[in-house]
Symmetry: C2
Subunit: 201 residues, 2 copies
Amino acid sequence: MARLRPDQRRQRIIDATLAVAIRKGLGATTVRDVAAEMGTSSGLIHHYFSSMDHVLAASFEQAAQSDLDHARSLVAAASEPADALTALMEGYTSDDGTTMQLWLDAWSEASRRPVLQEVSRRLNLAWHRLLVEVIERGVESGQFTCADPVASAWRILSVLDGMALQSVAHGEVVDHADASAWSAAAAALELGLPTDRASLD
Amino acid sequence: MARLRPDQRRQRIIDATLAVAIRKGLGATTVRDVAAEMGTSSGLIHHYFSSMDHVLAASFEQAAQSDLDHARSLVAAASEPADALTALMEGYTSDDGTTMQLWLDAWSEASRRPVLQEVSRRLNLAWHRLLVEVIERGVESGQFTCADPVASAWRILSVLDGMALQSVAHGEVVDHADASAWSAAAAALELGLPTDRASLD
DNA sequence: CCGTTTATTGGACAGCCGCGCAACAAAAAT
DNA sequence: ATTTTTGTTGCGCGGCTGTCCAATAAACGG
């Protein structure tokens, strides 16, 4: 295969890994799968990563970090705290569910793969921090009512995770529209916003 | 190894599978692992199960069904709806986290293992139904305020799942006591109960 | 143009995987 | 007491796994 510059090849390995991981699962993605996806030999991968665990961790990190960056820009673009909250929640769920399957795989493997656990944990905390900041901004401006932003942020994130989980694992058990509306309702309740009754009908 | 009656052997296979699955993960549990755990040959397992997927599904089903039965009995023993709610939530989280790791594995593998997906989905829906019944009982007796028990049940379950998830995957990111208190607060908020301020301090 | 560096190859290595099957042994039926 | 049934063994099959390494080829510095 064409000879690439190290950073480019590294990026292609990550992209190929994500393509496979979405099909087969993060834990079931093998060196040969990735090589075949790239159209190169399998030995090449160990020239850039010390172990397959690091390939998986780096790939998951890129996918999750990209979503987080996207959400951050949406939040930064929002003028009102309520809009920022909506943007964050949509950014969390908006994707076609592929990233969410990766999150599920990462959570499942985390306690047994230290490298993956570190990444998963760090990015989960980053999402939590982002949400805490949005909540605190809303409280300062008097639009949100919240005594414990840290606890509220964990509760809201948990609802988002739980709903997404049902959607990814069990298909139509929880409809995507339902999940979205119900999550919004939970956040509204949590932060003392007027409940949007329209979304419940 | 001693010759056992079919139902006893089948049970031992399931028990051995769970012992291994908790250590290595559901998806990483192999026929040879289970055989070694039982102290028998590996061929024996295929005399009772048509494939390893069915072994995993049957094992997860027993673990999850057992927790569900336990919660059902706790709920049935409660005189007040509020007590039933507390009992259900404690029954969901009470275990030492081993079953929760299995749930995480099951959710992660569900979309790729149809046999496991069917079990996971069925038991998830059973938990949801149980919670809906508790909520409806509370609403009838006037102790709970809830316009949409189905939606509320999914939100409460999601919070429980999300909190447990952090605890299992990332260790001390969310303390077990915090998770328990925060989940209870979410349920109280959701069902219009007086918030137990003591648990927030 | 040549020597050095390095991206890439392709296969070897030891070990694991699910599954199937002939042989064996113990319980049950006759 | 002998035949039949069936729980159990132990190994073989083809195929897969992560990792490593000598050989090759392409880019680059002189």
